[in-house]
């Protein structure tokens, strides 16, 4: 059972326009909309328990 596929499909967020880009292995690393070359990874969707101290 695979939770991570052979070719990971990740959504990155463009640094300029904020557009979400879904890229596969081998795709050019730039925003599909505005061509900006700095893409950020999205925050992990895991629940964090933080004490309110």
């Amino acid at each position: 059972m695979e939770s991570k596929p052979e070719e990971p499909v990740v959504t990155y967020v463009c640094g300029d326009c904020g557009q979400e880009n879904t890229l596969k292995r081998g795709d050019v690393f730039k925003c599909k909309e505005c061509g900006f070359r700095v893409l950020y990874k999205k925050r992990i969707r895991r629940k964090r328990l933080i004490p309110a101290n």
């Binding site: 925050r43 309110a52 101290n53």
Partner: protein, 365 residues
């Protein structure tokens, strides 16, 4: 038990016989005992009964008085007359640190893309005052399961849309979840039943106290965070019972303080020009009284308003005429509640806690 030998030794002992003790000292350095001259019973007492009156319970009943000056939902000003400073201070300390409240303790963050980092956001949520009567809840300890009797669950899910301007996240965005947590714990296998973070056996909505008034924060305009377009906060906050001693977020009062009633006396006649000067320096406390025939004198109109700034005795002429002090045993108390309970209820609860402490001491004696 000391033996006969040891007793004899102690009787014949003289410190000057020991080696290393210098001889030939003047008499004032040869002293080996320190004696206190003051009376041990009254040496450290803050209130020494004057004129032979005793501090008996009967006398206390006769002389003790409480006057409520003002009382609103959040603030109270009242006078306590005839009580010792130790009690006034004890009530103040209990109000600040030992009265329980409900405050957010655990924050489960599912998503936070705002500029406020998780820990800072959780810290801010902890400080939000919650309008829930803590007497209706139980403490949650390490081993207990969070349930409807010891936890209040809030949800916060805000997203700033892409086309909008910067958005504020206020306390009003917090939603009460009377049925408990909605977030599922991540389980390892897909076959096991998903567990939630709390196990509510019945909805808090069904309880009579909360049936028609939902639990909310005490103030709905408190700013928690700001979101720029595209940013999102999704979290669940669990509030539990605690006391101010553990963390200041659990203090039920913005603050509680007391001051002693000022004692302002004029030691002689303050007339005409001097009176005008005195009233000009402190118009709050002093006033002019006309004596007819063009003569005026100053009187102490409102000593309660004195702030003890001592401006009135800065002047060389006035310093001999104005006597400034405090009335012992007359305390002007102020209590500012943060909203969990009204201030008069807070005070009666503080009295109950002091009573309980006395009971504990008496039991142990």
């Amino acid at each position: 038990m000391a033996t006969k030998e040891e007793k004899r030794f102690a009787k014949n002992f003289n410190i000057n016989d020991l080696p290393d003790v210098p001889t030939g000292l003047p008499p004032h350095l040869q002293q080996t005992r320190v004696v206190s001259k003051s009376n041990p019973l009254t040496a450290n007492a803050s209130y020494v009964p004057s004129m032979g009156e005793s501090v008996k319970l009967g006398n206390f009943y006769e002389n003790f008085k409480v006057d409520v000056i003002s009382l609103t939902e959040r603030d109270m000003e009242f006078d306590m007359i005839g009580i010792d400073a130790a009690f006034a201070n004890a009530f103040r300390r209990i109000l600040i640190a030992e009265l329980p409240t409900m405050a957010i303790e655990k924050v489960l963050i599912a998503n936070n893309t705002s500029v406020i980092i998780d820990e800072v956001l959780a810290h801010r949520m902890g400080l939000i005052p919650i309008a829930a009567d803590p007497r209706l809840f139980e403490y949650l300890s390490e081993n207990d399961q969070p349930n409807e009797k010891n936890t209040i669950v809030f949800k916060l899910h805000v997203k700033c849309a892409k086309n909008k301007t910067r958005q504020q996240v206020l306390t009003s965005d917090l939603k009460w979840l009377p049925n408990g947590s909605e977030l599922l714990k991540e389980s390892g296998g897909s076959t096991s039943k998903p567990k939630t973070y709390t196990s509510f056996s019945c909805s808090q909505d069904s309880l009579p106290e909360f049936a028609n008034n939902p639990i909310t924060p005490s103030d709905l305009q408190i700013l928690i965070a700001k979101l720029a377009p595209g940013q999102e906060i999704e979290l669940e906050a669990h509030a539990v019972k605690g006391i101010g001693k553990t963390h200041a977020k659990w203090s039920p009062v913005a603050t509680a303080w007391y001051r002693m009633h000022p004692k302002v006396d004029l030691l002689g006649e303050v007339e005409d020009e001097l009176a005008e000067r005195l009233v000009k320096i402190c118009p709050k406390v002093f006033d002019i009284e006309d004596m007819g025939k063009g003569k005026k004198r100053a009187i102490v109109a409102q000593p309660r308003k004195c702030t003890m700034s001592k401006e009135c005795i800065r002047d060389d002429d006035l310093i001999e005429l104005v006597d400034l002090g405090s009335v012992k045993n007359h305390f002007i108390f102020n209590i500012e509640s943060t909203g969990s309970l009204p201030p008069d209820v807070l005070f009666t609860e503080a009295v109950k806690i002091l009573e309980a402490k006395c009971e504990t001491v008496l039991k142990e004696l």
